[in-house]
């Protein structure tokens, strides 16, 4: 391992703190993405907005409908709109082309708002995207919002803030009359595989009105009146806490940070929300809901747990909040976590992970396939949880895999989601194919050496 990387890998029992939150070493096969990617994943699920990528074709093509963010109506977001910057614009600037593109798109598709994403290229040629957007806003009477998502600004995390800044421009432009006292916004859920529908149904059963969901199955008009809600529920805190903070400062809306993933976390999320409204009837309804929903999934989980008890998992995810929930959820299934890594975790996140994990759990920041593959093999892991780039590495090693990123097809939020997670883990861990993989056929393939 490179010296420069050593400080970014520890075990949970280590006294020393991890070094994180720094740019990847140039030349590494990092799994990290860029600012643009972060902005795109956050804003993309708004189904009735126009999403125009101002840049060369690649940036647009690779983000065309790759995320399973479901929409219940409009599907405009599932198209790929792109200014397709060519050499001519690199030399003479792309502002005119951008203005023309908006003119060619908005009248046809009649979106409720438009987001214009800046990319590295349009950043470096110095296009004034903001000015073009201002002009288009005036011309078409819909908000045309620039997203400062030039990739070189940093990792996905920076992109989340840029997306939040864009959303902030939309909020407070709609009429809030009629919003009751028991009202919330959901922040940081993207309705992957329909998760927000599950969460919404819980909140509604508790007696809450969901004003805006940001951004899963999100709608421009809802977001415009989000400042009328009485509480912000922030899930996947990494991506949207900055928006919640802004809304607290500006509109006095308090927020709670929760996770809807895992039985424990989901129950405490709902209780925390109910407690906030200090309404006895609501608290009672919440208790009933948690009881009922937990009871519905426990028998199945117990059955699946029998096969999973003692199995070993590893995970590598984007943000740390996902990692917390996963570690807890895996424990609920009787599994141990041999490795937990994140692309963009912060210092205090890793401290928290240390508390959650076993002393010998490897914690890694900004890892790469080479070191991960070595750990997976050394710890004889049965399950790897990660994203698109990690999946084939796991399979090559003969290890089960679950996608916990954009490409998953199964909703994991809520109590039903935990059962679905258990089923998915069970299915992949117990797949007969692993018995046929060469590594597993070798005698004595198990070993537990290989701490970093």
């Amino acid at each position: 391992m490179l010296d420069a990387r050593k400080s970014q890998v520890i075990t949970a029992g280590d006294a020393r703190a991890i070094v994180c939150d720094r740019p990847s070493v140039a030349g590494s096969v990092t799994q990290r993405a860029c600012t643009f990617c972060g902005s795109r994943v956050v804003l993309y699920p708004i189904g009735d907005a126009l999403h125009l990528v101002h840049g060369p074709v690649g940036c647009a093509a690779y983000t065309w409908d790759i995320r399973g963010a479901l929409s219940s109506g409009m599907q405009l977001h599932r198209n790929s709109f792109n200014t397709d910057i060519r050499e001519n614009e690199v030399i003479f600037g792309g502002e005119k082309k951008l203005a023309r593109a908006l003119r060619e798109l908005i009248p046809i598709h009649k979106p409720k708002a438009a987001f214009v994403y800046a990319t590295c290229l349009t950043g470096v040629i110095g296009d004034d995207v903001e000015a073009v957007c201002r002009g288009a806003t005036a011309e078409f009477g819909i908000p045309v919002i620039p997203v400062q998502s030039e990739g070189f600004r940093g990792t996905k995390k920076h992109g989340y803030s840029a997306a939040c800044a864009a959303l902030a421009q939309l909020i407070d432009s709609g009429d809030t009359t009629g919003i009751g006292p028991f009202s919330v916004n959901i922040l940081g859920d993207f309705n992957i595989a329909g998760e927000i529908w599950t969460i919404k149904s819980y909140l509604q059963r508790m007696g809450l009105e969901v004003v805006a969901s940001m951004t899963g199955d999100g709608r421009v008009d809802d977001i415009r009146r989000a400042h009328g809600a009485k509480l912000n529920i922030v899930q996947c805190a990494g991506s949207m806490t900055s928006l919640a903070k802004m809304m607290q400062e500006k509109y006095g809306i308090p927020y709670v940070q929760v996770s809807f993933f895992g039985l424990e976390d989901c129950a405490s999320a709902l209780y925390e929300v109910a407690k906030h409204f200090a309404d006895l009837a609501m608290l009672e309804r919440t208790r009933a809901l948690v009881r009922e929903e937990t009871a519905a999934v426990l028998p199945e989980m117990a059955r699946l747990r029998k096969d999973l008890e003692g199995k070993v998992a590893a995970l590598y995810v984007g943000g740390a909040f996902k990692a917390f929930s996963l570690v807890k959820a895996l424990r609920q299934l009787g599994m141990r976590v041999a490795m937990a890594g994140t692309q963009t975790g912060a210092q205090q996140d890793y401290e928290h992970l240390k508390e959650l994990c076993d002393a010998d759990t490897i914690l890694a920041d900004d890892s790469n396939p080479l070191e991960m593959a070595a750990w997976l093999a050394a710890r004889d892991v049965d399950l790897f949880i990660g994203g698109v780039k990690e999946r084939p590495v796991a399979y090559k090693l003969g290890i089960g895999f679950c996608d916990h990123n954009h490409e998953r097809k199964i909703g994991l939020a809520g109590f039903v989601g935990m059962a679905a997670f258990a089923r998915e883990v069970h299915a992949t861990v117990t797949s007969p194919i692993w018995k046929l993989v060469p590594r597993r056929q070798r005698p004595g393939c198990s070993n537990t050496e290989g701490t970093p």
């Binding site: 140039a26 990290r32 993405a33 074709v57 940036c59 599907q75 050499e87």
Partner: protein
């Protein structure tokens, strides 16, 4: 709900909707993966590299290794020289490749980083270990498209490495074009059937279709070796398949090492494969092996058996120019009617070629270079087709218009098989033909009223 394309044509000058192309670096990366022990390196921000790797992974369902210069805001102002130097040290220390293939991105191109100078500097400072090499290609995406990147990278390998020792060998060079690993393996089989020694560059077979071994190997066993690329300069002839993907490298070999070259279409379909086979036969001066004659015969046999299902069927085809040219000819030869033919790539020659192919059978066909799938969808709304042949991105149109889609090209994100079973050659043609026939027959079954639902077809 997914159908958001209006049927009447709209004037567009400034935008692509639902692109039918991707960007240069992903092509450079694909080409570089076809060199043994090579680590592709993306000189730019890390987002590009992450996207290219992810997209290749989605298509091949394989781990894709590539490093990045990880540009920051500072590099975008001061240039990426320091990043690339650091990257080169990191890569050799950490990943120990035989060769690094650097490609640029839109960002580093616009900043104007001079890659050869930076590589030269590393060389002088002893940052490149003994026996290891670095090559590079310029791949700005605001020029060309993914096939251009592939072409530039292959040319880059040749430029840096191919050398003539003055002794001509018996071998020929084969530049396979942008085809699947399975196709590359098939092309080698054809050449081998003639007992013709050949060097193929690149060769992604046994790299991007690597077997499960229970281990993750950073550099799978396949790929053209550096020594082979060097020896390309001594070859007696170069066959370049597909003008867009392969011609540049072949020309470079001619210029640099005086290896004569010949550009052929991708051998997809009967006629194009015939031309490929006769080109090889001419080089060896031998007859076509019986084995290949038999394979040809089987393809002809199947097409004649089923021609009643194919005749007059309207088809829409899009994808990379080299592939679409060959596919269009193949469909024409099977008596189908390619009425909409489009590429996302650029080159006026594309439109001319297709026009020539369809001159007699479909003189009114819609033909376009630099098109996109919005355009294709509009055409299909204006004139319905029986079948679509193209990438996964066509599935939106396929669903909206209820038209069967045979997946072909780059990328295929939602099916497997393309990287394991060839489409080139006669056997590949057989696979393609059966896919097409099955799609048509399945549709006929689905739509047939009870009385016309047939058991034997």
């Amino acid at each position: 709900m997914l159908d958001m394309t209006p049927a009447n044509s709209v004037e567009r000058t400034a935008l692509k909707i639902n692109p039918a192309k991707t960007c240069q670096p992903v092509g450079a990366m694909y080409a570089a993966l076809g060199v043994h022990g090579c680590l592709p390196h993306s000189h730019g921000s890390q987002g590009c590299c992450a996207y290219h790797r992810s997209h290749l992974t989605r298509h091949f369902k394989e781990p894709i290794m590539a490093s990045t210069s990880s540009f920051t805001e500072g590099s975008s102002v001061f240039g990426g020289m320091a990043n690339l130097q650091q990257a080169i040290s990191t890569i050799f220390e950490m990943y120990d490749p035989e060769i690094i293939a650097v490609h640029t991105t839109c960002l580093s191109e616009t900043i104007g980083d001079d890659i050869p100078t930076i590589i030269g500097k590393c060389q002088n400072e002893g940052k490149i270990p003994e026996g290891k090499v670095i090559v590079h290609a310029n791949t700005p995406s605001y020029v060309g498209f993914h096939v251009t990147g592939y072409s530039n990278m292959v040319k880059g390998f040749v430029k840096y490495l191919a050398a003539s020792t003055g002794r001509r060998s018996d071998a020929i060079n084969l530049i396979p074009g942008w085809v699947e690993p399975s196709d590359m393996a098939e092309l080698k089989r054809y050449i081998a059937a003639f007992n013709l020694p050949a060097i193929m560059l690149p060769d992604t077979s046994s790299v991007l279709d690597a077997p499960a071994t229970g281990e993750h190997s950073f550099y799978p066993k396949g790929g053209t070796t550096v020594a082979q690329i060097r020896a390309m300069g001594d070859a007696r002839h170069t066959l370049a398949l597909g003008a867009w993907a392969s011609e540049e490298a072949a020309i470079q070999l001619t210029k640099q090492c005086e290896v004569p070259h010949e550009v052929l279409d991708l051998p997809i379909g009967l006629a194009a494969t015939d031309r490929f086979i006769s080109a090889i036969a001419k080089l060896t001066g031998t007859a076509v092996p019986q084995l290949l004659e038999d394979e040809r015969g089987r393809l002809v046999d199947v097409i004649s058996d089923m021609h009643q299902y194919l005749g007059g069927k309207k088809v829409a085809i899009w994808g990379d120019p080299d592939q679409v040219i060959a596919l269009t000819e193949f469909c024409r030869d099977m008596d189908m009617k390619p009425v909409h033919v489009m590429t996302g790539g650029n080159g006026q020659a594309f439109e001319e070629r297709i026009k020539a192919i369809l001159a007699d059978s479909v003189p009114t066909a819609n033909i376009k270079q630099q098109g996109d799938l919005f355009q294709m969808h509009q055409w299909i709304k204006q004139e319905k087709v029986d079948l679509m042949i193209g990438t996964t991105y066509g599935k939106f149109i396929s669903r909206a218009e209820d038209i069967p889609l045979v997946r072909f090209g780059w990328p295929i994100l939602d099916r497997v098989g393309h990287s394991y079973f060839p489409s080139v050659g006669y056997t590949g043609g057989l696979r393609l033909a059966t896919q097409i026939i099955s799609a048509i027959q399945e549709r006929q079954d689905r739509d047939a009223p009870d009385h016309a639902f047939e058991l034997v077809m």
